[in-house]
Symmetry: D4
Subunit: 218 residues, 8 copies
């Protein structure tokens, strides 16, 4: 696994990350890391690699777009002096274009999304050991659905940025694909966005595979 003893990992994003984490910092006792993939990642690493004493901090905030991340990047990422940062953002950037199309000031279009995300990576790259970029996703198997198509464009943008800045990259949308072959979206997420624990485990597993987690350790 890419993490070293005592490394600090900050995981930032929107409601998929947040999942009712503790404020101001999502770490410590009693569900402090929330009820989603961050806690699944933390539980798997801490139960399999207890000797690493990894420090994981959930900094997700519900409703955030990449524009929101930029506003709080200094205090919520840089000031925490992490060794590693994971980012999953973009769902709200897209969703607002479809669930409240007339409220245009809440939309973050592709250009702004790409330039802002790139800017955050550039700021952060020199300060950390590594960055893990994850695509936003939409639990909609119909490739012709217009919101799914837009989400895929944002996912492709994340892939480009990861390649350009040579960060690690996890394609979450792709990770959902095999599950959706057997599972109707309504079983995973009532609104096709906020998954149940099965969906969060899909995310956690994709993340852990990217960081070299050894599932058969011990």
């Amino acid at each position: 696994m890419i993490f070293n003893k005592h490394d600090k990992l900050v995981m930032i994003g929107d409601s998929i990350t947040d999942t009712e984490r503790k404020r101001p910092l999502g770490e410590g006792r009693n569900d402090a890391t929330g009820k989603g993939y961050v806690t699944a990642v933390s539980a798997l690493i801490n139960s399999v690699y207890p000797e690493l004493s990894l420090r994981i901090i959930n900094m997700g905030i519900s409703g955030n777009t990449v524009r929101s991340l930029k506003e709080r990047w200094q205090t919520d990422v840089v000031d925490l002096q992490p060794d590693w940062v994971s980012i999953m953002i973009g769902i709200n950037d897209v969703w607002r274009q479809y669930d409240q199309p007339v409220i245009k000031e809440t939309h973050v279009y592709l250009e702004e999304y790409k330039s802002t995300l790139s800017e955050l990576i550039q700021i952060t790259k020199p300060l950390v050991k590594g960055i893990i970029l994850m695509t936003p996703f939409y639990i909609e198997p119909n490739a012709g659905d217009c919101m799914r198509r837009t989400m895929d464009e944002y996912g492709a943008a994340v892939k480009e940025i990861a390649a350009l800045h040579q960060t690690r990259f996890v394609d979450i949308q792709a990770a959902f694909q095999p599950v959706l072959e057997h599972t109707y979206p309504a079983e995973l997420a009532w609104d096709r966005v906020h998954p149940n624990m099965t969906g969060h485990m899909v995310i956690a597993r994709a993340f852990l595979n990217e960081v070299g987690f050894d599932w058969n350790k011990r």
Copy 2:
């Protein structure tokens, strides 16, 4: 993995199993399987083996002893016609002897524990494809601690019963051992009994290893 398509698995036990599951049946949307190892097991199986359409029902009830299980065995296990049953019981049987020693009617001593558990296995064996017995546990690394010693006796009894009735067996106490070499109990469970998600993942992984879960599938 030992489970077949459309199999039904009932997981029964005490508060470690319960974890605020839905009543009367711990299955369905929205945390219906609780917040502990049952949900971790369910999330891992459903995300890795979605083609199995496994049905998992959490029937744990906080505070239960093996005496409580006997009282509700017909309605809460037999009537559900499961293909598989997992049982983790005994923590309260032991704990009450130590946290309220003067209230003796709440204690379940070893003889009653063994005979009752055996009786439940005998009733159930002919009705199901298989039973998975899990030991109770105490997150106390000091082998000389008196409550830990008693818990180990109950765990040994589970092992005997599993061997006698040829059921599957998971040693949860043993599964905690490598984690406790690096982790102080207070980090896993404030009362050394109710674990955080890391502790629940220890249980889930031990269970999944016993049932042949393939961690590297897909």
Copy 3:
């Protein structure tokens, strides 16, 4: 309009009808008819035809299937001695097959749906001035979606039954079609099932058109 002075109309169904109506009877002051299409229908009729003194009772119950309606038909419809009955049922009959496919006892398949609905119509026809049957619906524009396809089959069954028993018929799924040409489902209903007031107004308007409501009256 088909209703006469002092007629009593009972509107029954599932959560789309219920919308937090009063118990045991959904009529009277303060949101007693709920927050959905029943209240929109009532408000439009009472503001445009106040001279009719129509009595509208909302008898929807969230989560109901046609099987649930049958169980409470005597007390919740027949005993109320209505002049008119409207029925919109079937969404949960279908939805449970997709959002909890392993819990099969909660599914109501097409055969049972058709025979049960027919039975209710046969019982009720002789007792009332008329019945208004409405199709269940799914706010999913993709005709290839499997749950939408199933819902369409149930809608077709309603149409058949209406024709066979010569009741009035409203195709709610069809009523949503023109709106969905301009509106993404997430704007109307977060889960593609429970609409906002715009969606409820679509239902109310389709219903009122069928019963001969004169929009330009006065």
Copy 4:
């Protein structure tokens, strides 16, 4: 209808408008536009004219008088840059004179009402495509009632101002007249001020008739 594609309509007023709308802006998902005539207007326009993508924002605040509107006009109307503004104000200006006559600083007498409302119209007229003025109302059929008489004076003032500034005008008090011929006030509004959905539909229909809504469209 007078509205064009993508037009923004701000509807401002007192508790009749507010009806528990979202703060700070009454727009978006989940009852954000409240539970009254604004939502009825919005639901009717969005279900019949979905192609317009009209943006409707409820800016009503319970308890407001025209004096309150003036204090927040810049932030709550001008800064939102609406294309259209609807105003229904005056009920509290009158009511306080009758339900707490000794607390005179809460009263807004006719002179202040007229001059303030005129001032708001003058400020706003050049900034928007159009203004819809609605009269305040009192659900009291007795023309000799002293509070009804005062309310009628305020309504007449609205009519004068509308004529003077050539804005659109809706006589809400008049719209209630035919309904009150068949309906006792207590059925519409327990306090003769805050109507149920039937009363709100009376307001919505009067408003929509003025703006050229085609009830038989599609």
Copy 5:
């Protein structure tokens, strides 16, 4: 005053009497007699005639009609073995005819009102020292209002019954008259039915005048 030392007075009625009294018996410490005229009567008698040790029990229940009183007369009046009984009933009997005219089973028309009230008097007369009948009332000064006219008919019926059975009689509607000459109804009662403390004091004073309370005692 007509009451003797240690007399027990039961005061029964609807919400005007109830005013959140204690259940099952409205007597004792801490607002047990409610927040209305019963408490005002009790406070005035106990502060001016402490030597009487009068026992006053509030048995009002919100929403009651004379039909409701009949159903509970045995347990709530007769079984308490009062020396005196006061009755104020009829507001809901009338109000339901006006605020929910279509729900006819909730109306109590004049014939039933008169016969039921007479029956209760006949049963009770031989068991007590005296009965005080109070008219229902409506805080509506417009004598031409239809609900006020109906209420006056019910009040007249109370007067007749009082005369026929020779009970004491208090005309509450008349007691409100001089106050309404100076006070608009909205100041006394938002819905013209449930008065504030000023309105309750009007009732209490009218009651006390009838029973011979000496305002200048001591």
Copy 6:
């Protein structure tokens, strides 16, 4: 009665006055004047002298001493520009000496009490038509009780100050005397300080007698 049409009366004090009044001003609809003697006074005046349109504002604050009154006198009395002011203060000044004798900074001893109260009277006298001073009281009939003795000293001080500055004066302690001859303190006030409505009526009657209220008016 000493009050004229449209006079404004501010009643200030401690918890006996406060009784959960509205903030910041204790006037208006719905228990705004609290649940004690202020409301009793208001209800009696408004029901008997409705033509006066008297404005009564309750400015009591629980826990206040004369020291607290001084701190808020400008904003809570002077700025309101009353025609009349009533003051009942001193209970906490004394009580704290007996219920928390070691917390001496909460005690207000007699010298400070007298000088502060005098100062407030001197400031206010020129600004108003009149002042009504009421003694603090203790519902303890045993004249030898030490707290009662102290309270009597404070009451005597009020009497002196009233005489000195020629204000109106009400001896509340004396008003309780005849009631206490027939009533045990526990029936009036569980803590011998906060009376039930009977006790508040004793205060209200003593106040009204002083201001010339005509109990037999109309």
Copy 7:
């Protein structure tokens, strides 16, 4: 101390005993024995005599009189098979005569008190190792107070009964005497009945002195 290893002590009474204990049995973790003298007794015995493993069960119920005790004596005392029983009852028997004198059915007069208490002692004596009778008390230093005088009569009755049946006896009223010489009642108990922890410690110490507790043990 009179207690032996593993003895079970049931302490029964009214609100002074109850103090929010757990239901149905007042024993176990987390304030199960309440917040009063029972918990003080338990904490002192368990911290000083841990080797005794004494089992203490709080069976007090707020509002109880000796009449209430009789009704539940079989289930709440006899069925628990205690070795020792302590009883403190009588406060409500007396108090109700003074705080609600007109509600006579709630009073328990001296004759009934004596005969009922005697009866309970006679039933229980043969079943237990010993009984500890405690007097009711009133934190009122004025010996001339009428309620205090009555309480003293009930206390004297307890003393007689204790002597007659040769039970242990604790004079709680007397135990308060030296504290009341330095402390005003309001500091110990706002209503002179329900003491703060200082008052409960007075009771606990008096009880422990009677049962031979060695304060200087260890």
Copy 8:
């Protein structure tokens, strides 16, 4: 006893001291001193030495370390001008090292602990009559437990500092020793840190023995 009439004692510490005390000052009526050893100390002193009128203020705050005490020492100790100060601190300084080892900024290591505590003593010594230092403790009988060993080091540091500065000293860890010989930790404190009342009484007794409390007084 070392305390004199009217002395003021401030007791400061962490959650063991706090126990839900009142803010900002933990003194006065109704559990103001919390539910732990401070209240036990206060109740014992006030019931046995009422003539002293000792003033005890609980200034504990949950979660505090010695670093937290330093930050609030001026306002929470010095400004209160106590005659005596008791300090029990260090549990969180140690515990955080074991229950959240990766969050290092929350740990207070031994050096900082000693120097900070010494500094507080030096500041305070000249201002007061005396200081009572109490050791932190851990209800863990296994001397080999790593957290217990660390706690013992902190306790030893307290002893050193007490000796160096000649303050009074109470070894709380030692006081628990005899109880732990008969009692399993889970019976005293579910998390081995926050004791039940028995544990708090152990602390109170150790404290009172040090200050010369005469258990057999009176």
